[in-house]
Structures are given as structure tokens and as C-alpha cells.
């Protein structure tokens, strides 16, 4: 009985997940694992996560107030306003991208919904980076003597940002399974992004014709919104919020659609 390779598909097999578990319980456990593994063997723990943005803030402050004479008031806080969202974004995106390949053994052995892996990698990173956000808020409150009423927009802005990273990470994590170079593309993109996000220059310095593009880049929009809320103490503009919402929701939805297409081949490629 010599069987030959099938030249047609008589019945298309639907890849359906037979996993009927508890999504929240699983995501919670994966995030807890991330956090525990990260901090259990560290003697300084959270301090390391705070040191990085503080050092960067110090360096930027030195360069832009001592070498270049910047006109931006409260430059150190202004820079931190950009650095923290930038850090959260880049680290979450990178961790999300490599998460599937790093969990290869898991994916080959448990029929757990594949989306869960990059999503919880991103969320775990956000939880771990939240100490940087606390640091930023504390510094802002100390510098300006308290909070202003526009702070209520911060959760909205951050929620949209997380949606955006989740979408982006789903796409890049899926692609990274097929072509392992994707993680280096992400690393380079993050490096480029540092200069293309208004971290150490204000939006007003950007030539008019480029400004609209900036506002559609969710990372730049998040930084702009944070600067307006925290440093300038003004309303972050409805148009900016709408643009941020539109691009974040779009990217997130696209992420799920693309991931659905990509995941059928994961088993063969991991």
C-alpha cells in the first residue's frame, strides 16, 4: 500500500483549539511567573527598574541644559515624561516579540490559545514597568506641587497604549516564529523610535508638515498626551485622543486577525 502525497484537500481540517480553560486565571499566573522570576534572584529588585530612566533623565538633562541650551522649562521632568512611555513601549514590544519562540516547548505540548503567550508577556512587562510610571507621577507631583484634574485622562491614554503594543506584539511575535530575524528588526525600530518620538524636543519644534504624522504614531501621541497632562497641565486635546484611539484600536484588531492567520503553522516552525 504505497500512499502518495495528497494533491488536493478533500476535507479541510479546521484547526480548533480544544482548550476550555480559565483565561483570566492563566493570564494572572503567567504574569505572576514573569514578575516572580524577574525579582526573586535580585537583591536590589525594583530599584534596577527605576535606575534606568533616572540615569537617562540625568544624561538628557546634562546634554540639553548644559551643552545645548534648551528653552523647555522643567526639562528633566519633561524628558522623563517621554522616557517612561517610550521604555514601557519598547520593552513590552520586544518581550512580546520573542515570547512565542521562548515558549516553544509550551506551545508544542499544551493546546493553550497561542494569543495568551504574547499578550501576557506584554501585560507582565507593563506591570513590571508600572514602578517607572509611579516614579514619573511622584516627580511630577513634587515639581508642580500636586495633581491637576486632567490626570483622569492618564488611564485612558495608557489603556490605548497597551492595546497598541498588544496588537503590534501579536504580529511581530507571529512573524518571529517563521523568520527569526524579526526580533532584530524590532530592536532597530525601537532605536529609531527614540529619535522620532518627541522625548527631548517639543511638538512645536517639529515642522508643520510632519506634525500630523507624529500625532498618528501612538507612541508619539502617548508622549505628547503625557507631556500636555503632566507638564503643561492642560487638556490633551480631543483630536489627539481620537487619533490615538483610532490607531491603537486598529492596530490591536489587525494584530488579532494577522495572528489568527499565522498561528496555524506555529507547530511546524517552532
Amino acid at each position: 500500500m504505497a500512499a502518495s502525497a495528497p494533491s488536493f484537500r478533500p476535507i479541510v481540517a479546521r484547526p480548533r483549539s480544544r482548550w476550555t480553560g480559565d483565561y483570566l486565571f492563566l493570564i494572572q499566573n503567567l504574569i505572576l511567573k514573569d514578575i516572580r522570576v524577574r525579582y526573586r534572584n535580585m537583591s536590589l529588585g525594583v530599584l534596577w527598574s527605576l535606575l534606568n530612566p533616572l540615569v537617562m533623565m540625568g544624561v538628557l538633562w546634562f546634554v540639553f541644559t548644559k551643552i545645548y541650551d534648551t528653552k523647555i522649562p522643567h526639562f528633566a521632568v519633561f524628558a522623563l515624561c517621554g522616557l517612561v512611555p517610550y521604555n514601557v513601549f519598547t520593552l513590552s514590544w520586544l518581550t512580546g516579540t520573542t515570547s512565542l519562540v521562548e515558549s516553544a516547548t509550551l506551545i508544542k505540548r499544551v493546546p493553550v490559545p497561542r494569543e495568551i503567550i504574547p499578550i501576557s508577556a506584554v501585560l507582565g512587562n507593563c506591570v513590571h514597568m508600572s514602578c517607572q510610571l509611579v516614579l514619573l507621577l511622584l516627580l511630577v507631583a513634587l515639581t508642580f506641587g500636586g495633581v491637576n484634574r486632567y490626570w483622569i485622562f492618564l488611564p485612558v491614554v495608557w489603556f490605548l497604549e497597551i492595546l497598541f503594543v498588544v496588537g503590534l506584539a501579536l504580529i511581530s511575535a507571529g512573524l518571529n516564529v517563521y523568520v527569526r530575524d524579526v526580533r532584530y528588526v524590532v530592536e532597530s525600530a525601537n532605536l529609531v523610535l527614540f529619535w522620532l518620538v518627541p522625548i527631548f524636543y517639543p511638538l512645536s519644534m517639529i515642522p508643520m508638515q510632519f506634525r500630523e504624522i507624529y500625532r498618528f504614531n501612538p507612541v508619539a501621541a502617548l508622549v505628547l498626551a503625557s507631556q500636555r497632562i503632566l507638564v503643561e497641565g492642560v487638556y490633551p486635546q480631543t483630536s489627539l485622543l481620537l487619533q490615538l484611539a483610532a490607531s491603537s484600536i486598529l492596530v490591536c484588531a489587525l494584530g488579532f486577525v494577522v495572528f489568527r492567520k499565522l498561528r496555524t503553522g506555529f507547530y511546524n516552525y517552532l
Partner: protein, 248 residues
């Protein structure tokens, strides 16, 4: 009309690409430029059809590379078939997932919770079965120690204990009844046997062993992805052992 099968394969094909350099960008670009679309495929399962009723226990025998593990991963829903239909009715737990997601820096208790969540256990159910897991694994006071302080046998015992306490309708076993020392092996075997007596379905991949012959009533013999024989365990094991002693 026939009653719903526990597991049914109809004309199932499952292939893998040969892997040379395919994960690198330059090879992808090279293929794209040269217009080479179809990459050489290797078929692990070729036109496989069989049917298992609820409550049956079936062994899959065959040499290394016969497609046994691929068969289990299709049943477990880990990989889609290339062609043909795979139907599985009931909750599946696979003892090939032993210790999935175990991390050496987490304590035994933390690992159990994560592992169980991965296997699809709900939060409330976890509270109910946790004492049973600890008791079956004979872990006692060690649950709050990090996993890296455990012996290999302890880790396997813990993993097995989580897997059997999931209590599925269909149990997949991949050569794992070799866990821990002899006493624990007997305990595991007993647990699996109880499973069978409660009318659950068991699909078991193994080299021929006396344990499998006791556990299963029927066997499938796979050779290079093709079904050679489907019959009673004695008949299939006899034929398989006969053929391998001739070759080897």
C-alpha cells in the same frame, strides 16, 4: 447512524517541511526571488483512518519516527492536519504535557498553579483539587521550596500528579509511565487503570511493554506514517515484535 466516536481520523495527512535554513531571512528572500513556492515535505502521517469509541483503550505501537507522537499531537489539538478530518469529542488531557511551564525559580505550589492553569483548570476547581495534587505527589512540606531544590523524581511526581488530577474524558499517554521509583510507577499505573474502569477513553503511545498490554485491549501499528495493522493488543504486538525481530 453510528454513535459519536471519541476519536475519529479520516484520511489524515500530516507533513513537516524539511528545516534547512528556513528560519533565516536570506533563505526566505532567496525562495521568494527564485519563485520556489513548494518546499520539500516529509509526511509523518499518511492517509491515516481509524475510529475509537468512548471507553476504549488503545495503544499505538511502532518504531521511532513512525508518527506516534504526531498522532498524539493531532488528537491533543496542538497541530492542524494538512488534509483529512480529525474529530475528538470530550475534554482531552495529555500526559505528554508533564511539567509544561515548570520554572526552577518558582516554588512547587506556584508551579502547580501555573501548570494547572495551562492545562485548562479553572480558578475554583484549582482550590478543590490542590490538596489531592499535593497528597498524590507525596510532597508534603516541600511545596513552598523553589523547584530547583527538588530531585528529578520529585519534579516528575509533581507534574504527573497535576496531569492526572485534571480528570479529562480522554487521556493521552506518551511513554510517561516511567515516572519516579517503582512504587510511584505502580501508583501512577493504578491511577490510569482507575481511569479506564470509570469508562474513560485512553490513547497510549508506547514501545511494547507489559503495562501497556494490561491496560489496552486494542492496538494500532504505525510504520513510517502508515497504518499497518489495527486489531487486538495481542495480535498487533505479536505482529509488530515479529517484524522488528526480523529487521533488527
Amino acid at each position: 447512524m453510528m454513535p459519536e466516536a471519541a476519536i475519529e481520523f479520516r484520511g489524515v495527512w500530516k507533513g513537516f517541511h524539511r528545516h534547512t535554513g528556513r528560519l533565516l531571512l536570506r533563505s526566505q528572500v532567496g525562495n521568494w526571488i527564485s519563485g520556489r513556492r513548494e518546499v520539500e515535505k516529509f509526511y509523518a502521517l499518511k492517509d491515516l483512518s481509524f475510529r475509537m469509541e468512548h471507553g476504549e483503550s488503545v495503544a499505538v505501537v511502532g518504531a521511532n519516527g513512525a508518527g506516534k507522537s504526531t498522532l498524539l499531537s493531532l488528537v491533543a489539538g496542538l497541530a492542524p492536519a494538512d488534509a483529512g478530518a480529525v474529530a475528538v469529542n470530550g475534554q482531552v488531557a495529555a500526559l505528554l504535557e508533564l511539567g509544561s511551564g515548570f520554572h526552577p525559580d518558582l516554588t512547587g505550589a506556584e508551579n502547580v498553579r501555573l501548570n494547572a492553569a495551562l492545562l485548562g483548570i479553572h480558578r475554583e476547581r484549582m482550590k478543590e483539587i490542590y490538596p489531592a495534587i499535593v497528597e498524590f505527589a507525596e510532597m508534603g512540606d516541600f511545596m513552598d521550596e523553589p523547584l530547583r531544590t527538588y530531585s528529578a523524581g520529585m519534579i516528575m511526581r509533581l507534574a504527573f500528579s497535576v496531569a492526572v488530577n485534571v480528570d479529562p474524558d480522554i487521556l493521552l499517554i506518551d511513554e510517561v509511565l516511567s515516572v519516579g521509583d517503582h512504587a510511584f510507577q505502580l501508583k501512577c499505573f493504578e491511577k490510569v487503570f482507575q481511569f479506564r474502569q470509570r469508562g474513560k477513553t485512553i490513547l497510549c503511545v508506547s514501545h511494547v511493554s507489559s503495562m501497556v498490554q494490561q491496560l489496552c485491549s486494542r492496538a494500532l501499528w504505525l510504520d513510517h506514517g502508515e497504518l499497518m495493522l489495527d486489531g487486538s493488543i495481542a495480535e498487533v504486538c505479536g505482529a509488530y515484535e515479529g517484524s522488528s525481530s526480523v529487521q533488527g
